[in-house]
């Protein structure tokens, strides 16, 4: 049977999110490898930047449109998509493993009784078959797996597909389907989104600078905030400092916090408990600053400085200022 891929395009405030473009590119690539087709689906009201998907391999996008769909509704979105999949016999569904994607994909998999693989870091074709890989135990191990169901649902870990590679430009055709209100399952609806103090989330940041107990106290975290701002990054925290109440849980990186894969991760005064390492070891480049030369964090770092973070951070800020405006 030929492959028919459907890519879920996530929108917030009418804008397609970057992570969905990664899923679109993966879908385009797999459709070439398996000689099948790929379609995008977006659920929402007006979408301001829909043309962007033509840069990422999607020729066809279905837009389910209604004002009441502008905010996420797990019940309404899942029903629309699952019904659309059944009517059109899609057999591979791709999501990004974002807050919305990881909520929605399992509901749709259950509706379709489809096998589900979450948070995949690799989707490949081997001997004509799809094989997947995903981290388990917060990245302490990797699972290579297959799905034996007719329909397969996968979510892709953000920041694992390059958006700069050439060869994904296509002509886009958007088909808008106006949805009637009485067909919407609105048992659960998002009524508002509140951004936390305009700060970038660690889960979305390209650069993260994290602090642990070596920061000595919450009053010293401004040092990290200044550097984060300079680099356009986010501040992260170890579990120890979150549990001590120095920083909010939304900043916690690690097994009971967030799993992140930024371009650059700077660990300051973090010794590197196994739970923390699990959450950040997939970062492309890791820098460790710690006064204990035997701290486990140095073993997984690319570069390290042994020393007192409170002395090193002000110097680091000044040095970075020379290159970043």
């Amino acid at each position: 049977m030929s492959i028919k891929i459907l890519v879920f395009l996530e929108q917030r405030n009418g804008e397609i999110k970057k992570q969905s473009l990664e899923a679109a590119r993966k879908g385009f690539k797999l459709s070439k490898d398996l000689q099948g087709g790929v379609t995008g689906v977006v659920v929402g009201d007006n979408i301001s930047n829909i043309e962007i998907v033509s840069e990422h391999g999607l020729e066809k996008v279905i837009h389910f449109k209604h004002p009441k769909l502008s905010n996420y509704s797990s019940t309404a979105y899942s029903k629309l998509i699952a019904d659309f999949v059944k009517e059109n016999n899609f057999n591979l569904l791709l999501f990004s493993h974002t807050a919305m994607g990881k909520d929605l994909a399992p509901i749709i998999a259950a509706k379709l009784k489809a096998g589900y693989g979450a948070d995949c870091t690799s989707i490949e074709v081997k001997d004509g078959q799809l094989v997947f890989e995903r981290p388990i135990y917060a990245g302490k191990a990797l699972m290579n797996f297959s799905l034996n169901s007719e329909v397969k649902v996968l979510s892709i870990r953000p920041n694992t597909v390059s958006l700069t590679e050439d060869g994904f430009k296509v002509n886009l055709n958007v088909e808008t389907k106006e949805v009637s209100e009485d067909s919407l399952d609105l048992r659960s609806v998002v009524t508002a989104y509140e951004k936390s103090e305009g700060k970038l989330d660690v889960a979305e940041a390209d650069i993260i600078i994290s602090g642990g107990r070596g920061m000595k106290g919450p009053e010293n975290f401004y040092l990290l905030e200044e550097i984060a701002q300079l680099l356009g990054g986010a501040v992260g925290a170890s579990r120890a400092v979150v549990d001590a109440g120095w920083r909010p849980h939304s900043e916690q990186v690690g097994q009971t916090g967030k799993t992140v894969s930024p371009k650059l991760y700077i660990a300051c005064g973090i010794s590197g408990a196994i739970q923390h390492l699990a959450g950040m070891s997939s970062a492309k480049c890791i820098v460790a600053i710690n006064k204990d030369k035997d701290a486990p964090i140095f073993q997984i770092a690319d570069y390290g400085i042994v020393g007192d973070v409170l002395e090193i951070l002000p110097v680091l800020k000044e040095e970075l200022k020379k290159y970043v405006s």
């Binding site: 797990s74 807050a99 990881k102 399992p106 509901i107 259950a110 489809a114 096998g115 589900y116 979450a118 094989v131 981290p135 388990i136 135990y137 917060a138 302490k140 191990a141 990797l142 699972m143 290579n144 797996f145 034996n148 048992r187 659960s188 609806v189 998002v190 009524t191 508002a192 509140e194 951004k195 936390s196 889960a203 979305e204 009971t256 916090g257 371009k263 650059l264 196994i274 070891s281 997939s282 492309k284 480049c285 890791i286 820098v287 030369k293 073993q299 997984i300 690319d302 570069y303 390290g304 400085i305 042994v306 020393g307 007192d308 002395e311 090193i312 110097v315 680091l316 040095e319 970075l320």
Partner: protein, 248 residues
């Protein structure tokens, strides 16, 4: 109110993972198992819901005999009874959700609490799948919950902020850290748990759709280069980040 909390019995987060001989499982030797950390927030919220509205809290687990330890812990915290559904452990989230739904659907449940993910397979999927099989709506990764007159208002954690969600009972809620501060079991609770019932059921897990080909440990290709021992190393570090790693 009829309240259910779904539990998962998982390796302690401090566990160093080793791969078993068959390359498809982890080596369980020396691994201590605990109640899934996020499930403790689910238990606490279930108990608070019972304290507010009255009723009963039932803990349901899919697993093997050793999972009784986690059920006992929940009973010691104040849960009224437990159900252990025994079945093959090498199964996907959908099978676990089907197994849980097969029992929970018979309980006339108003609300089900789960942890937002189990810290072994990390899929964040069972809660939402369970809701679908029960034909309930679900709200995942919840950090704040209010229930009044059958209406549910929740806040869920999303990238860069929170989403406010409105729904109604019956519902499945998956708990994120921050929802509450889980209580410790009292000595009285631990004693009482010994006489609380754990019902045992079985589930045929032959519908599993996920085939594990191989488990492996991630390879570390890190340089682990110590650039220097105090602030004087900073210029060299920044140079390396710019010219060698090319990340700033």
């Amino acid at each position: 109110m009829k309240i259910v909390v779904a539990l998962s019995h998982v390796p302690d987060t401090a566990t160093k993972i080793k791969i078993a001989q068959d390359r498809k499982n982890i080596d369980p030797s020396g691994v201590s198992f605990i109640i899934n950390p996020y499930d403790e927030f689910a238990i606490e919220e279930a108990l608070r819901t019972k304290e507010k509205f009255g009723g009963e809290v039932i803990a349901v687990t899919y697993g093997n005999d050793s999972a009784k330890e986690s059920i006992r812990k929940a009973l010691a915290m104040g849960v009224d009874k437990g159900i252990l559904i025994k079945g093959d452990l090498n199964v996907d989230s959908l099978t676990v959700a089907e197994a849980l739904a097969s029992e929970i659907s018979q309980l006339n449940t108003d609300i089900v609490f789960c942890g937002k993910q189990s810290v072994d397979y990390d899929s964040s999927a069972v809660g939402q799948m369970l809701a679908e099989f029960l034909n309930f709506p679900s709200i995942s990764t919840v950090v704040k919950l209010e229930i009044e007159d059958g209406k549910v208002k929740a806040e869920r954690e999303v990238e860069g902020g929170i989403e406010k969600v409105e729904s109604s009972l019956p519902i499945v809620i998956t708990a994120q850290k921050g929802l509450n501060e889980p209580r410790y079991a009292s000595l009285k609770g631990i004693m009482a748990a010994k006489s609380k019932p754990i019902e045992e059921k079985t589930f045929d897990a032959s519908n599993n759709r996920l085939v594990v080909n191989e488990l492996k440990l991630p390879e570390s290709k890190r340089k682990s280069k110590i650039v220097g021992t105090d602030a004087s190393a900073v210029p060299e570090l920044v140079k390396l980040l710019r010219e060698e790693a090319k990340v700033i």
